[in-house]
C-alpha cells in the first residue's frame, strides 16, 4: 500500500469511527439485502449464482440474500420490495449489470419500498465478470465475489441523501436554422417556450432552402420549407438572431448563460422592408454562396428570394461605399454604415444544437478532375443549375460552351466510403442522385442519356426503393463499379468527359459524357469543432457531435440540457432531421416543463470549517463547478451544484480534506479497497 493510500486510510478511520457510531445506534443496523441477478444466461451461464448467493450470506450485515432471474422486471422489482419490507432491510445491493443503465430503475424500486434511493448499491457482475472472463469461469466467479463483497462493504456505509432541486429558465436556444432547427423551434414555441434561434448566416433555411426538389416525391423543396421559415419569423415566441455567432456558454441545465455576437449587416433590421430597391441601385456584384458561387449577388442583397429574415446585408468586403443604396432607401433610413458588432447575453434553460453539415470540396481528389475540367460539377452545384430560381434560370448547361448536355454521368461516393478521406457513407447521396437522374430523364426524355456510376445503391426508408425502380424505368443506366480505380478524363477539344471504372469482375467500363456530377461527401460543419469546445460537448471520431447513447438517447449529449438534432449528429435526410428536431424539442421541453431540474445529490460538499480558501480545488475542477467566494471575513469554496458532475477530483486535490463526495467518501472507498483486499472485517466495524 502506498504512503498516500495509507494516509487516507488513516484519515478515513479517524473520520468514520464517530460517525459510524452515531449512524448505527442499534446493533441490527445496517440490515443489508443482496439480490443476485441471473440475467437469463448472461450471468448464470458463467457465474454460479447459487454459490455466490450462499457466499454473500456469510458477509457481515447481510440479513437477506437471494438470486432471481431479471430483478429489473416488474415481478423482480415486486419481490425486492417485498423482501425489503419483510426483512426490514435498510440497504439494498443488486449484483447484476451496469449501473449506468439500471441504477435509476432500482433506485425507484427501493424508493417505492419507502427506502431512500441512495441506500442502494449496484455490483456489476455481468460486464465486469461474466462477459469479460467467459473463458475462465473460475476467475470470473472469484471476481464476482470480490465485486459483491466490495458493494456490500460500501452499502454498509451508505448514507441517505436528498436530491437537489434547481430552478430553470423556461427558454430554449436553438443553434442553427436548418430544417431540424426550424422544427425544434416551432415545436418548442408552440408548447409555450420562448425560443431564440441563432443562425450563423444571413437567413435561416439551411441546405434545404437551396435544393430544387426533394426525394422521393419530387416536391419543390423551398415550397415546403419556405412557409415553415416564415412561421419561424412570425411566431410570437421565436426570436431569430441571424448573422450571429455563439461566443460563450456558461452555466448548466436550466440556467445557461449564452453570449452571442450579432455581426453588423449595416442595415437596420427594424427599418428594412426587404423591398430590394437598394439592391437594384447597387453597382457591385460578388459570387453568391447560396448559388454555390455559380452566380453573383449584389453587394447589398439577400442570398435568395425566400430569405428569413428578409433584412438585406451589405458585404463590406466588396462594397465601394457609393451610398446609392442610402439614396434608394430614402425615408426608410434602414442603412447604417456605422453599425458595429453587438454582443448580447441570453439566459436559457436548454440548448438544441442543429448546425447541420458541410460539403467536401473534391478538388484534392485528382481523379475526379473537379476544378480542372470545366464540365465536372458537384451535386450542390447541379442542384442550383437545375433550380428554376437558380443562376441559369433552371437551364442545365455546360460551363465550357453554355450548351445543354446530351449525356450526363453521375459519380457516387466521392470522398465518402474512402478510408483516406471520409470512411462513413454520406447517407443521402444515392437518393439525391436518383432524384437528379429522374428529373433529367423526365425533363428531357430521350434527348439525354443519364448514367449513374455507383457501388452500392442505398435506398432504404419509406418509398425510396420504389423511387429507385422509377429511375430504372425512366431509362437511367446504372453502372456498378468498384470504388477503386475510377477516373475521369477530358477531351481538350470537345471538353467532353470520359468516365472510367472497373466492374465487379475487374473489367474496365467507360462512358463518354458531356457533363459529370459528383456525389461529394457531406462532412461535419466547419463550425462543429469550435462549438463543441464552447458547449463542452464531445465530437465523435467522424467529427459529428457525439450523442450520449447511440441507441436509446440519440438526441442527448453528455451535458444535461444540451440536445442534438439533424445532420450535425450524423448525416440524415430531411424527414429524419425533421423527426429528430421534434424529438430534441420534446427532450428540452421535458427538462424544463416541471419548472425545476433535479440534480442527483452526488455532488461535492465543502466543510466550511476545514476549508482554507486555498483555491486548489478551483484549478482542479474541469467543469468550473467549484469557486472560492468570500463570505464574511472568510473565503471558502462553494460548489455550483448544477455544474458539478461528482467526479471527485476536487475532493482528492483538497489539501485540507475539506471536500467530501456523498456516498463516495474516503471511508466508503477505503472500505471497498479493504474488501477487495480480502481483509476480514469484524462484524462491529
Amino acid at each position: 500500500m502506498s504512503k498516500k493510500i495509507r494516509k487516507s486510510v488513516d484519515t478515513a478511520r479517524k473520520k468514520t469511527k464517530p460517525r459510524q457510531k452515531k449512524a448505527r445506534p442499534e446493533a441490527e443496523s445496517p440490515r443489508i439485502g443482496v439480490f443476485v441477478c441471473q440475467c437469463g444466461s448472461n450471468i448464470a451461464s458463467i457465474i454460479d449464482v447459487d454459490a455466490l448467493t450462499k457466499y454473500v450470506q456469510t458477509l457481515p450485515n447481510v440479513v437477506h440474500a437471494e438470486n432471481m432471474n431479471y430483478p429489473c422486471s416488474r415481478q423482480g422489482q415486486d419481490e425486492i420490495i417485498a423482501a425489503i419490507k419483510n426483512n426490514k432491510l435498510d440497504r439494498v445491493v443488486v449484483a447484476g449489470c451496469s449501473p449506468r443503465l439500471y441504477e435509476p430503475t432500482f433506485q425507484s424500486c427501493v424508493s417505492r419500498a419507502e427506502l431512500n434511493p441512495w441506500l442502494f448499491e449496484m455490483a456489476n457482475i455481468r460486464e465486469f465478470a461474466s462477459y469479460c472472463h467467459q473463458t475462465t469461469p473460475g476467475e470470473a466467479n472469484e471476481k464476482a465475489k470480490d465485486t459483491v463483497r466490495m458493494a456490500v462493504a460500501k452499502a454498509r456505509l451508505l448514507e441517505p441523501l436528498t436530491p437537489i432541486e434547481l430552478p430553470v429558465t423556461k427558454k430554449v436556444m436553438v443553434i442553427g436554422g436548418g430544417i431540424a432547427g426550424i422544427n425544434a423551434a416551432l415545436d418548442l414555441a408552440d408548447m409555450g417556450f420562448k425560443v431564440y434561434m441563432v443562425e450563423k448566416t444571413e437567413t435561416i433555411g439551411g441546405y434545404m432552402a437551396l435544393l430544387d426538389k426533394t426525394f422521393p416525391t419530387l416536391d419543390c423543396s423551398i415550397c415546403i420549407e419556405g412557409p415553415k421559415m416564415v412561421d419561424v419569423g412570425r411566431h410570437p415566441n421565436i426570436e431569430i438572431i441571424s448573422y450571429a455567432d455563439v461566443l460563450k456558454v456558461e452555466g448548466y441545465v436550466g440556467n445557461f448563460k449564452v453570449k452571442i455576437r450579432k455581426n453588423p449587416r449595416y442595415v437596420i433590421a427594424a427599418n428594412c422592408t426587404g423591398c430590394g430597391e437598394c439592391r437594384d441601385a447597387c453597382p457591385i456584384e460578388y459570387p453568391n454562396y447560396a448559388d454555390m458561387y455559380l452566380g453573383a449577388r449584389k453587394a447589398i442583397s439577400i442570398p435568395f428570394g425566400q430569405a428569413v429574415p428578409l433584412t438585406h446585408t451589405i458585404n463590406r468586403d466588396y462594397c465601394i461605399e457609393c451610398y446609392k443604396c442610402v439614396d434608394a432607401c430614402g425615408a426608410r433610413e434602414a442603412i447604417n454604415f456605422d453599425q458595429k458588432p453587438e454582443e448580447i447575453e441570453v439566459n436559457v434553460g436548454a440548448i438544441v444544437v442543429t448546425i447541420g453539415y458541410g460539403m467536401y470540396d473534391p478538388k484534392d481528389l485528382a481523379w475526379t478532375g473537379y476544378g480542372r475540367f470545366s464540365n465536372v460539377f458537384t451535386a450542390m452545384e447541379f442542384e442550383r443549375l437545375i433550380l428554376a430560381a437558380g443562376p441559369t434560370g433552371g437551364k442545365v448547361i455546360r460551363a465550357s460552351d453554355g450548351q445543354k448536355p446530351h449525356s450526363v454521368a453521375f459519380m457516387q461516393c466521392v470522398g465518402s466510403r474512402d478510408i483516406n478521406r471520409y470512411e462513413y457513407c454520406s447517407s443521402f447521396c444515392c437518393m439525391y442522385t436518383l432524384k437528379h437522374s429522374v428529373m433529367l430523364k423526365e425533363k428531357y426524355r430521350d434527348a439525354i442519356e443519364v448514367y449513374v456510376f455507383y457501388n452500392d445503391m442505398r435506398s432504404n426508408f419509406k418509398g425510396y426503393e420504389e423511387f429507385f425502380n422509377r429511375a430504372q424505368k425512366s431509362g437511367v443506366k446504372f453502372i456498378r463499379v468498384k470504388l477503386e480505380n475510377r477516373r475521369i478524363t477530358e477531351d481538350p477539344q470537345t471538353k467532353n468527359l470520359t468516365v472510367c471504372g472497373e466492374n465487379e469482375d475487374g473489367k474496365p467500363v467507360s462512358v463518354e459524357a458531356e457533363m459529370v456530377v459528383l456525389a461529394n461527401a457531406a462532412i461535419p460543419s466547419q463550425a462543429a469543432s469550435e462549438l463543441a469546445k464552447i458547449l463542452k460537448i464531445p465530437l465523435g471520431k467522424d467529427g459529428f457531435f457525439a450523442e450520449c447513447q447511440p441507441k436509446i438517447r440519440p438526441t442527448d449529449t453528455e451535458v444535461p440540457g444540451i440536445f442534438l438534432a439533424g445532420a450535425c449528429q450524423g448525416l440524415k435526410d430531411i424527414p429524419y432531421s425533421v423527426a429528430q428536431g421534434s424529438a430534441a424539442a420534446a427532450q428540452a421541453a421535458s427538462a424544463l416543463s416541471k419548472g425545476s431540474w433535479t440534480v442527483e445529490p452526488l455532488v461535492a460538499k465543502v466543510n466550511d470549517e476545514l476549508c482554507s480558501g486555498c483555491r486548489v480545488c478551483e484549478s482542479a475542477c474541469s467543469y468550473h463547478a467549484i469557486n472560492v467566494e468570500k463570505a464574511g471575513d472568510k473565503s471558502t469554496a462553494k460548489v455550483t451544484e448544477g455544474l458539478c458532475r461528482g467526479c471527485g477530483i476536487c475532493s482528492s486535490a483538497c489539501p485540507m480534506d475539506a471536500i467530501t463526495m456523498p456516498n463516495y467518501s474516503d471511508c466508503q472507498i477505503v472500505a471497498q479497497i479493504q474488501a477487495v483486499m480480502k481483509r476480514e472485517l469484524k462484524k462491529h466495524d
Binding site: 453597382p283 454555390m292 465601394i320 457609393c322 441559369t392
Partner: protein
Amino acid sequence: MPFQTLKKDTAEGLSLEWIMHVKNYKLNLDKNRCVGCQICNLACPKEAIRIEKQSKTVGEKTQKAKVDIDLSKCNFCGICDILCPYGAITVTVDGKHLLSVLDKESFPQLVRDIKADASKFPMDRDKSEDVCPINLIKVHYSTAEGKPVKDPCSLNESEQRALRMMVEVDKEHCPCCGICEAKLPQCAMHVRRILSGKLAITPEKCPEGCTDCLDVCPITGALYLSDGDKKVHANEMFCVYCGACKIVCPVDEALDFKRTRINHTPVRSGAWNKALERLTSPTDMTKELKAKRSLRARESVKKRMGLKEEQRV
C-alpha cells in the same frame, strides 16, 4: 466547375479574372500603356492595387513603377478603369466593356474634352501624327471621290486643296496633355485638361545627375533637362498630373506635386468623394462639395423664382 479566380502576369499585361458559371469578370492591365503613375493605386476603394518602385540599374534609364493587383481584394468595380488617364486598365463583364458603376451613376466619367478641326491640320502626315507623344492621332487623307491618299506631300498644291482630311483621336487612351494643341497650327486641336494641379521642381534639392522623373514621364516636354544647370525642370503647360514622376523621385522635397481638380461628369456618390479626396486632398474635395452645394442652391432658387436657364440670379 467551381468558382475560379485567375491571375496572369506577362510582359505585355496583367489580367485578373472571376469565372462564375454564368458570369465572367475580367480586368486587364495593358503594361504598354501603363506609365506607373499612382492614380489607380490611390483610387481603388478596396486598396487592391499596389505600386512598386523598380530597382535602378546604373547606366540605364529608370524603369517606371510596376503596378500589381491583389486578386483577393479586387472586386472588379472598374474604378481604376474609369480613372486611368492613359486608359491602360479595362474591366469587362462577359467580354463587354459595360461598367455597372457608370450605369448606376455610382461613379463619374472623366471628361476628355478633345476637339479636332481636320481642316486646320497640315498636309504632312508625319508632322500631324508625331506631335502626340503617345501616338494617339491618326490622320486620313482622301480625294474628293473618297479614294484614300497615302502621301499627300507628293501631290501638287491644287490637288492638296481638294483633299479631304479626317482626324481620328484615340480619346479613350488620351491623358489630355495638350501638346497637340500647342504644336499644331492654331485651332487645329482643342484639348481641355482632365487633371489640374501643381508640379514644381526645386533643382537645388535634386541629386547630382538624377533624371529619374524625366525617364519615366510619358509626356515629352512636360519635363526637360536644362542645358544650364543640367537639372530637370518642369513645364506645367503640358503636365497631365498623373504622378508617375513623384513615385520614382528619390528625394521627397525635390518634387512638389499635387492634384487639385479632376474634370468629371456630374455625380452624387460617396465612392467618388473618397476617390477624389485620395487623389487630390481633403481641402480640394471639400471645395468640390461646396461648389456642388452652391450650384444646387442656385438651381433651386432659379426654379423658385421662375427664371430661365440663361438668366443670372
